[in-house]
Amino acid sequence: MAQFRIPGPLRRLSDGQVTVPVEAADLASAIEALDARYPGFRDRLLDENGELRQFVNVYLNDEDVRLGSGLQEKVGADDEISIVPAVAGGVS
C-alpha cells in the first residue's frame, strides 16, 4: 500500500502516526482514503473547490505533484506521499 507521511502540525489528526498506509489509485482517492481513516484531512489539504490548498505541498516520491498531474497523479503500491507545509526562504 502507498504510504502518507504526515507532518508535525497534522499528527494530532492521525493519532500521532507519522506514516499512514492507504489503498488508492490516484492522489485524489488517496486523500479520500486518508480522510476516511482519520477524518479532517480532506479539509486541511483541499480548499472549497476541491483543489490543493495554496500552503500545502504534496510530494509523490519526492516530486511536487503540482509540477505533474496534481490530484490526478497515479499512485502505486510502493509510493510515498509526503505532505509538507509551504515555507518561505531564499534571499528575497
Partner: protein, 412 residues
C-alpha cells in the same frame, strides 16, 4: 512590558503563543508576529529612532526583540540611499533612488533578517542556527552564528556559485551540500525542522526573521526625510520581504513617523527563468501561483515554489504596483548599466531589479518626477562569474610595458 504578544495566522486569524513555529495548524497559512499596539504606540517615536545606532537597530522598537535582549550584530543596515541622477537620466526619472543593501556586512540584504533571527533564537535558548539557502542567507547565517558563538548548519544546493561557497565556508559552519535545487533543499529542511532542536532562520523562526526586512523600508523613509516614495521595486524570490515592506509602510503611517497616509506602489521583479509570481500576475488567476523549475543566472532569487507569491500579487495590485520579469540578457545588461552609470556593482538579483526598473521606465510607466526607489539587495562579487562568461569587455586592450606600445594601441 513585552511588545510581542504572540503569533497570528495571516489566512484564518488563528492565534498562537510566542514560539518557534511558522505554520498555522488549522490552515497551514503563514504566522506573523503580533505586537501589543498600546505598548507600541507609546514606544515608537522619531526621536528615539534618530538617537539610535547608525545601523538597522535604530528601529529596534519596531522589531520583535525585547529591550533586555543582547542582540547579535555586525553593524547591518542603515545602508546608503543613493540619488541616482545618471541612471535616472538614462531612464527619464528625475527622482530615482537606489537603496544599496550590498553594503551590509556580508554584502546582502540577508544580514537584516539574520541579525533579528539569531538575536531572537539565542535569547530563546537555541544553541544551533540553521537555514536552507540559495547562498546569501547561508553566508549571513554562517557569519552571525560565528559572531554569536552558536553552532551552525547551512543547507545549500550542491551547484552553488564558487564565490558564494567560499564566502560561507570561511566562517566554518557545518555545510551540507544537497544534490538538488533550492526548492528541494528547502523541502528537506522543512522536514528536518520537526526532528531537530534547531532554529531554522527561514522556517520555524521565520515570523521573527521576516520582520528584519521591514528595516529596509524604515530606512528608506527616514533617508528621504521621513517620507514614503511613490514606488518601490523589489526582487521577488519567496516574496517574504515584499510582504514585510508593505507592512513597514503601514507601520510608518500608523505610528506617525511619516505624514503621508498613502503606502507606495510596490512592484516586484523576477527573472523570466524563474518567474512563478510574474506568470500568475499576468494570468487570469493571480491567486494561484504554480511552481516552476528554476533556470536562471539570478540564482539567489530562483525559488520555483514561492510561499508568499500570492501575497505579492495581492499587494502589487492593491498598491498600484506590478510584477514584471526580465530575460537573462536583460539581467546582465542591467548589471552593466548600473555599474556604468552609478558605480554600483550588484549581483544578478540586483540585475533583475534594475532590469525591471529599466523595462518599466522605457515602457513609459512613469511621468518622470515620481520618487522611485529600487532595492539593490546583493553585491556583484557574489556572481562575478556571469560577467566573465559574457561577451568580454569591449574597452579592454592588452599592451607591452612600453610607451611605444601604449601609443600604438590606446586611443586617448
Amino acid at each position: 512590558m513585552s511588545k510581542v504578544v504572540g503569533l497570528r495566522c495571516r489566512e484564518c486569524g488563528a492565534e498562537y503563543e510566542l514560539q518557534a513555529t511558522h505554520v498555522c495548524e488549522m490552515c497551514f497559512g503563514p504566522l506573523d508576529a503580533v505586537y501589543d499596539m498600546a505598548v507600541m504606540k507609546n514606544l515608537v517615536k522619531r526621536e528615539r529612532i534618530e538617537s539610535g545606532p547608525k545601523s538597522m537597530w535604530r528601529y529596534r522598537d519596531l522589531l520583535p526583540v525585547e529591550d533586555s535582549v543582547n542582540v547579535v550584530t555586525l553593524g547591518e543596515g542603515f545602508t546608503p540611499l543613493v540619488k541616482a541622477d545618471r541612471l535616472g537620466a538614462e531612464l527619464g526619472l528625475t527622482n530615482l533612488y537606489l537603496k544599496n543593501d550590498s553594503m551590509n556586512p556580508t554584502n546582502s540584504f540577508k544580514d537584516r533578517v539574520v541579525s533579528v533571527a539569531i538575536s531572537w533564537a539565542r535569547a530563546h535558548g537555541f544553541e544551533t542556527i540553521a537555514c536552507a539557502s540559495t547562498g546569501n542567507l547561508a553566508n549571513a547565517v554562517a557569519a552571525y552564528a560565528a559572531r554569536a558563538g552558536l553552532e551552525c548548519f547551512v543547507f545549500i544546493p550542491v551547484d552553488l556559485e564558487p564565490a558564494k561557497v567560499a564566502a560561507i565556508s570561511v566562517f566554518d559552519p557545518n555545510l551540507v551540500a544537497v544534490r538538488g535545487n533550492y526548492d528541494e533543499v528547502n523541502r528537506l529542511c522543512s522536514q528536518l525542522v520537526e526532528s531537530t532542536p534547531w532554529a531554522f532562520c527561514n522556517i520555524n523562526i521565520r515570523p521573527f526573521y521576516a520582520e528584519g526586512s521591514k528595516t529596509l523600508t524604515f530606512e528608506t523613509a527616514e533617508q528621504l526625510g521621513w517620507k514614503l516614495p511613490d514606488e518601490i521595486i523589489i526582487p521577488i524570490a519567496s516574496g517574504c520581504q515584499f510582504v514585510r515592506h508593505r507592512q513597514a509602510a503601514r507601520e510608518l503611517i500608523e505610528y506617525g513617523l511619516v505624514r503621508s497616509d498613502r503606502v507606495p506602489a510596490f512592484t516586484g521583479a523576477q527573472a523570466l527563468g524563474c518567474s512563478p509570481v510574474y506568470n500568475a500576475f499576468i494570468s487570469d488567476t493571480p491567486d494561484r501561483v504554480l511552481p516552476v523549475k528554476p533556470n536562471t543566472i539570478a540564482r539567489s532569487i530562483a525559488i520555483g515554489n514561492p510561499s508568499d507569491g500570492v501575497y505579492v500579487n495581492r499587494i502589487a495590485r492593491e498598491t498600484g504596483g506590478v510584477v514584471e520579469a526580465v530575460t537573462e540578457e536583460e539581467i546582465v545588461d542591467a548589471m552593466r548599466l548600473l555599474a556604468r552609470t552609478e558605480g554600483i556593482f550588484t549581483e544578478t538579483a540586483g540585475g533583475v531589479t534594475i532590469g525591471v526598473l529599466t523595462k518599466l521606465a522605457r515602457a513609459g510607466r512613469w511621468k518622470g518626477d515620481e520618487v522611485v526607489v529600487a532595492y539593490v539587495t546583493g553585491h556583484g562579487l557574489k556572481t562575478a562569474d556571469v560577467l566573465a562568461s559574457a561577451n568580454g569587455h569591449a574597452r579592454r586592450v592588452e599592451i607591452e610595458p612600453t610607451m611605444k606600445s601604449f601609443r600604438e594601441k590606446v586611443t586617448i
